[in-house]
């Protein structure tokens, strides 16, 4: 067998592996297309021009460095709330409590305004406070699940609402800004991340989000405890039989998710927000926990996938603001509608099955490649 033949066979095998590896990504893309098409249908029904709207949206989000920067600024907190959902899903649970943990993280973040510290140290203290607050708020549902068997979907939602009212109380009393009563004290300048791209919302905070995603990836895929968490999520009874303490893995997943969501608040309050304070009804933080679930599912609950899908949704939101100003002024709220359709579509396993022709083509392509690979392998063995 010549060297070139061997190279070809290696390349082909590589392509085959990449294509099969891309299968989940392909499904995410398909779901995104379905979502955008449904969005277009709604726009058209309501008398907008979907092509003009989408064009201004996509150009505004991805065509230049300012658009990309604003998309990244919106993506940063979404990465972290998506991780909350994904970590717990990998551990076999549906944690929809990122919303409440984010609010608690936000309260902890603005509380660093009470004391002065040198920059750097102040950043670290604020990030730590936010993580601890988010983590503590996730312990309640975790303990209810582990000791009383309360389903996490119910307990986390209740904790979200309790956090909502608790925050209204704290924002109006303990954390109130004496100069303007509708907001809290602000995060001081010594704890604010500086701008990464001038004239946009993007700050150095995004590196914290990326770093956290990479840490989660490392912990879940390259440590023993991460392996246990995932094993317990895939098959709890088998994991228990194999000596894994599933209660411990569930608790850890909840806690790690809480840290992540808490950190999500800092992305806004120490980064993209213009006032660096929380408002009475915490409008800047509203729905970021829920949007994170969409990001998580499209990112296939993998930290690296989440980085990409957060950028996609961040782009939709950032571009959506420009879409509002285009000649086809669709309200930016359209984005969440598209998001919902995408998640709903993601619920259908092997989405491609519903579109038989696409499925056939991928299968034929895959089989063809497989034949090529095996035949080249066969040649080598002779």
């Amino acid at each position: 067998m010549t060297e070139s033949q061997e190279t070809t066979s290696r390349l082909l095998r590589g392509v085959h592996r990449t294509l099969t590896g891309l299968h989940p990504a392909f499904e995410s893309v398909l779901a995104a297309i379905v979502g955008l098409l449904m969005g277009a249908l709604v726009m058209w029904l309501w008398g907008y021009d979907p092509i003009v709207a989408y064009k201004s949206m996509l150009l505004g989000a991805f065509a230049n460095k300012w658009g990309l920067a604003d998309s990244g600024a919106i993506a940063a907190p979404l990465v972290l709330t998506a991780l909350t959902f994904s970590i717990c899903l990998r551990a076999g649970m549906f944690n929809i409590g990122a919303e409440g943990q984010l609010i608690m993280g936000g309260l902890a973040t603005v509380s660093v305004g009470f004391f002065a510290l040198p920059p750097g140290l102040h950043h670290i203290v604020a990030l730590t406070f936010a993580m601890i607050a988010g983590g503590l708020w996730s312990i309640g549902p975790a303990l209810l699940k582990l000791t009383r068997g309360v389903h996490e979907v119910i307990s986390t939602i209740m904790f979200n609402w309790i956090a909502h009212f608790l925050s209204i109380f704290l924002i109006g009393t303990l954390l109130i800004n004496s100069l303007s009563a509708d907001q809290t004290i602000a995060v001081p300048a010594s704890a604010i991340f500086s701008k990464l791209v001038r004239g946009t919302d993007l700050t150095y905070a995004i590196f914290v989000a990326i770093a956290f995603a990479l840490i989660v990836y490392f912990v879940l895929w390259h440590t023993a405890i991460g392996y246990e968490v995932r094993a317990a999520g895939l098959n709890p009874s088998a994991a228990r039989y194999g000596g894994i303490r599933t209660k411990r893995t569930m608790f850890l997943a909840f806690l790690l998710g809480g840290l992540s969501a808490g950190l999500g608040a800092t992305m806004i309050l120490m980064g993209s927000s213009s006032t660096h304070a929380m408002y009475r009804l915490h409008g800047q933080l509203r729905n970021i926990g829920f949007d994170g679930m969409a990001v998580a599912m499209v990112g296939r609950n993998h930290p690296i996938g989440i980085l990409f899908s957060a950028m996609f949704f961040g782009g939709l939101s950032a571009g959506g603001r420009l879409m509002q100003l285009s000649s086809s002024p669709v309200p930016v709220q359209m984005v969440r509608l598209v998001m919902g359709v995408i998640v709903f579509t993601m619920a259908v396993p092997e989405l491609a099955k519903i579109f038989p022709s696409i499925k056939e083509q991928t299968v034929t392509l895959g089989q063809g490649l497989k034949r090529l690979v095996t035949s080249s392998r066969g040649r080598r063995s002779t």
């Binding site: 904790f159 979200n160 609402w161 608790l166 309200p331 509608l337 998001m339 919902g340 709903f344 259908v348």
Partner: protein
């Protein structure tokens, strides 16, 4: 004062009870829908628009229809397309927020709320307990009818078979998927009525945060009731009572506890009740899993 508290409780009970009873039907047949929150929100909005256009009864009917339609879509995904029910439910909730936010801007000059004109709201009886909507009567009577239907009729048995032992149901000639589709549609219609009630017959307006966790409280009620519609009614009354208590106590001048903590009550009580109820109740064996023929 006490009479007013009872009136508050009865009004607040309706959406939770209706949604919970609908979900009891769906869960008996084996479908677990966490999208109830979204169904409540969309049907409240659709009901309000419908009432403003064709009158209160039409509004309620439109709310029911929208609830049934969303639930039917959910059921198609979770039966024929073998979808993950949790994910589909989350999708419905997100979709609902987006749809209502979008629609609010489109149909209302005020992005925060859409008000229904007085003459398009459902009439209320004047009682010693305050103004009460006739829908409350439906919400009180319906759980008993559904209880009877589930426990004593052939339809109830078929539903139970589809949820407990879909294979056995299939062998005895029951089309499991169709049964689940119908159960979800009826359940969704009830949740839709609960949602439309909120806007058309209770508040008289709709906001984008209107559902306020009621869909999830209804889910918790179903857990606590162990799929018994009469207990779902009791649960609805309990949570309605604690929501009202917060509002009612807040009207007493100089009451020492801040309003925010009183508003937390229904959610805290939900947690307490559910954590006390678990272990006592059992659910259909095939709940949450799509039926695949071998």
């Amino acid at each position: 004062m006490i009479l007013a508290l009872i009136g508050f409780t009865l009004r607040a009970m309706v959406p939770i009870t209706m949604t919970a009873v609908g979900e009891v039907i769906g869960e008996t047949a084996g479908l677990f829908n966490i999208g109830l929150e979204g169904i409540l929100l969309v049907s409240a909005f659709a009901g309000a628009l419908g009432a403003a256009a064709v009158g209160p009864i039409g509004g309620l009917a439109i709310g029911m229809g929208v609830g049934a339609l969303i639930s039917l879509l959910f059921a198609v995904v979770s039966t024929y397309w073998k979808g993950t029910q949790m994910v589909a439910g989350i999708g419905i909730n997100l979709l609902a927020i987006g749809f209502v936010e979008f629609g609010m801007i489109r149909f209302s000059s005020n992005a925060g709320a859409f008000s229904i004109p007085e003459q398009s709201q459902l009439f209320r009886f004047i009682t010693p307990f305050g103004l009460l909507s006739p829908v409350i009567i439906i919400a009180v009577v319906l759980p008993f009818i559904i209880y009877w239907a589930l426990k004593r009729t052939r339809v109830g048995l078929i539903l139970k078979a589809a949820g407990e032992a879909p294979e056995a149901a299939d062998v005895s000639g029951i089309n499991v998927n169709v049964v689940r589709l119908l159960a979800a549609t009826v359940g969704g219609a009830l949740a839709g009525l609960g949602g439309a009630y909120m806007s058309v017959a209770w508040f008289g307006f709709v906001t984008k945060g209107m559902s306020a966790g009621r869909g999830f409280i209804a889910l918790a009620t179903v857990v606590f009731s162990g799929l018994n519609p009469i207990l779902a009614l009791a649960g609805g009354l309990l949570f309605g009572f604690f929501r009202s208590l917060g509002l009612w106590v807040d009207t007493i001048p100089g009451f020492p506890i801040p309003a925010e903590f009183l508003q937390m009550l229904p959610y805290v009580v939900t947690l307490l009740v559910v954590s006390g109820a678990i272990g006592r109740v059992r659910f259909p064996k095939a709940l949450g899993t799509p039926y695949k023929r071998e």
